[in-house]
């Protein structure tokens, strides 16, 4: 094995995805959770780009472009939600989001 093959990229993408999911599962700050989600999206994008490179067509890259667009819209809405929640509760810890239980 002399070159960087697709498996390397996929492996990297999987590890990045797992780190992101750990952030989502472990942290209690809503913004950090949000950052971890973005990281997971990035790892999925990386996998798509390497598929596209491997398959030799542009479809994967186009898909990634759309995922980036969708992510931008989601970030805007998600952060706005976090700010709105902070304004009423003065906290963005997900442990405080329990009003709806029961």
């Amino acid at each position: 094995m002399s070159e960087v093959t697709i498996e390397w990229y996929i492996a990297l993408s999987v590890v990045l995805f797992t780190i992101g999911s750990l952030g989502v599962l472990l942290r209690r700050n809503a913004i950090i959770i949000f950052m971890s989600v973005e990281m997971m999206l990035n790892s999925a994008n990386l996998a798509f780009v390497s598929f596209a490179r491997y398959l030799g067509n542009l479809d994967g890259q186009v898909l990634v472009f759309f995922v980036i667009t969708v992510a931008a819209a989601e970030v805007a809405v998600g952060l706005a939600l976090i700010v709105a929640i902070f304004r009423t509760k003065k906290s963005i810890s997900i442990d405080d989001l329990n009003l709806l239980k029961g």
């Binding site: 398959l55 969708v70 809405v77 998600g78």
Partner: protein, 496 residues
């Protein structure tokens, strides 16, 4: 070719309407009239589409540029998608009517109807698209508009409910993205017809099952099926009434549509396993939803749990997998959309007349006494939900039982028979509390509230479809006959 343009209209009209509604955001009468006109025109277009598809005898395909699939984008209307689009748009029209007569401050927001129309676009698009990646993009549009509409709710839990919904939807998006990735890398296509044909022709490739599982999980989140149900009651109960009436009725049907497509087009050979999963999830949903609905202390929450149970019935019908039971699933989905939208609007109406705007039982007990019309409507709606004639709910339930007897899963039939009684229990209990019991100290009924026009319209449809069920049943029969042979869809898209 001109006929094929019909397919894009139910998506295009609300999309353009949404953007134009933004121009008139500060002229309220103009904006309201525009929204209603757009929705009605769009609904008429979807009826014309259904008629055209039916008359055509095979699916209509909008293929951009006239190129053959799998190149190019395609919107596909077969009987199933056309019927579901009609269902969505009819209910959405009543949603707009309710919102126009609503006293919520949320409907006065300049962009409220823009997001409402985007919700319509997203939902219609996911149902009509013939491409998995387009489905993802449309579903995101649905999520963003649903989140925004809930976040601005008058309910003080609105923001928090929207946040939960947003995160569960992000999770669903991951499922979908990874499903798209695995299926794309395994079969080299995302066109649904092409994918279905390739899966059939090439057999199972190593990543097929992970792809199926991810896609299944995506649609389960969308339909709030067990085990992805936990967010649904919070979200549906805290959204503004016109929005929650849409979410709990037609938006959850996206998942139902997805399951039907998966089992009859995409993964026909793998369908028995998928059906078994749906059957188990459905039965658990029926029992859990029914029991939880009995234990709630809020009318809207009760109805949200009832959605869980009713979607469970539909999943069970899909799970049986016979042609008759698939027809039942379609009829059930259609009828439930009308019933649940009407019931949630009535709950919202009662809440709007209560002294404090809330649908909690403590607050609304006795509020219904001066509101006889709403009481009659709620009672008829309860009958429909529980499946008692002369309502369309009876048609759904009797079809469900006859298709259950035809299939071999007697135990699930017995179970849903028992749980149907739950439905009657909790709806009648709610009726009794609101219209029968005396109000508590300090609780009074406000002189004015939301408008009853939308639930009246829906109830008329509910009774009409109960007495004169044959058009819907025939259409659903046609749809299930088309679904029984995947090559109908595949040939229409790919040609030859």
């Amino acid at each position: 070719m001109t006929m094929n343009l019909l397919v894009i209209l139910p998506v295009l009209i609300p999309l353009v309407g949404a953007v134009i509604a933004l121009l008139w955001r500060h002229k309220r009468p103009l904006r309201d009239a525009w929204t209603l006109a757009v929705m009605v025109v769009s609904m008429l277009a979807s009826f014309v589409l259904l008629a055209a598809v039916w008359q055509n005898g095979s699916p209509l395909v909008y293929q951009s540029g006239g190129w053959p699939a799998p190149f190019g984008i395609s919107l596909v209307a077969d009987m199933l998608s056309a019927l579901f689009v009609v269902m969505v748009q009819v209910v959405m029209v009543t949603g707009v009517i309710y919102a126009l007569g609503s006293k919520d401050t949320v409907v006065t927001y300049p962009a409220f109807f823009t997001f409402f129309l985007m919700l319509v676009t997203g939902l219609t698009g996911t149902i009509l698209t013939g491409d998995l990646f387009n489905l993802y993009v449309f579903a995101e549009l649905l999520v963003i508009s649903g989140t925004v509409l809930t976040a601005v709710s008058d309910d003080k839990f609105g923001t928090e409910a929207a946040y939960k919904y947003f995160y569960i939807s992000l999770l669903a998006s991951f499922f979908m993205l990874l499903a798209v990735g695995t299926l794309y890398v395994s079969y080299g296509t995302l066109n649904m017809a092409d994918l279905g044909a390739k899966v059939m022709a090439d057999g199972e490739r190593p990543l097929l099952w992970p792809g199926i599982a991810l896609l299944l999980a995506f649609f389960m989140v969308k339909s709030a099926a067990v085990p992805f149900h936990f967010w649904q009651p919070d979200f549906h109960a805290a959204a503004p009434t016109p929005v929650s009436a849409m979410l709990s009725s037609v938006v959850v049907k996206l998942g139902v549509y997805g399951f039907l497509r998966m089992t009859t087009l995409l993964f026909v050979a793998q369908a028995p396993t998928i059906r078994l999963i749906l059957l188990v999830a459905g039965v658990i949903g029926v029992v859990f939803g029914g029991l939880s609905a009995i234990g709630t202390h809020n009318v809207k929450r009760m109805l949200a749990y009832s959605t869980l149970a009713q979607v469970g019935f539909i999943l069970v019908a899909i799970g049986w997998g016979t042609q008759l039971s698939i027809m039942t699933a379609i009829v059930f989905a259609f009828n439930h959309s009308l019933i649940k939208a009407a019931m949630l609007m009535l709950a919202g109406y009662v809440a709007s007349r209560a002294s404090v705007k809330s649908a909690a039982f403590d607050i609304v007990t006795g509020v219904g006494k001066p509101l006889p019309l709403a009481g009659v409507l709620f009672f008829v709606g309860s009958l429909a939900l529980a499946g008692i004639p002369p309502t369309n709910g009876f048609v759904s339930k009797s079809l469900l039982f006859s298709s259950g007897i035809n299939s071999t899963f007697y135990w699930s039939l017995l179970l849903i028979g028992v749980t149907s009684i739950f439905t009657l229990m909790y709806t009648i209990r709610a009726f009794q509390r609101i219209w029968w019991l005396a109000p508590a100290e300090g609780i009074y009924t406000k002189p004015a509230g939301d408008n009853l026009a939308a639930p009246v319209l829906l109830l008329i449809m509910i009774v009409a479809l109960g007495i004169w069920a044959s058009p819907l049943v025939t259409a659903a029969q046609e749809a299930s006959a088309w679904l029984s042979d995947p090559s109908v869809y595949i040939q229409a898209v790919l040609g030859g």
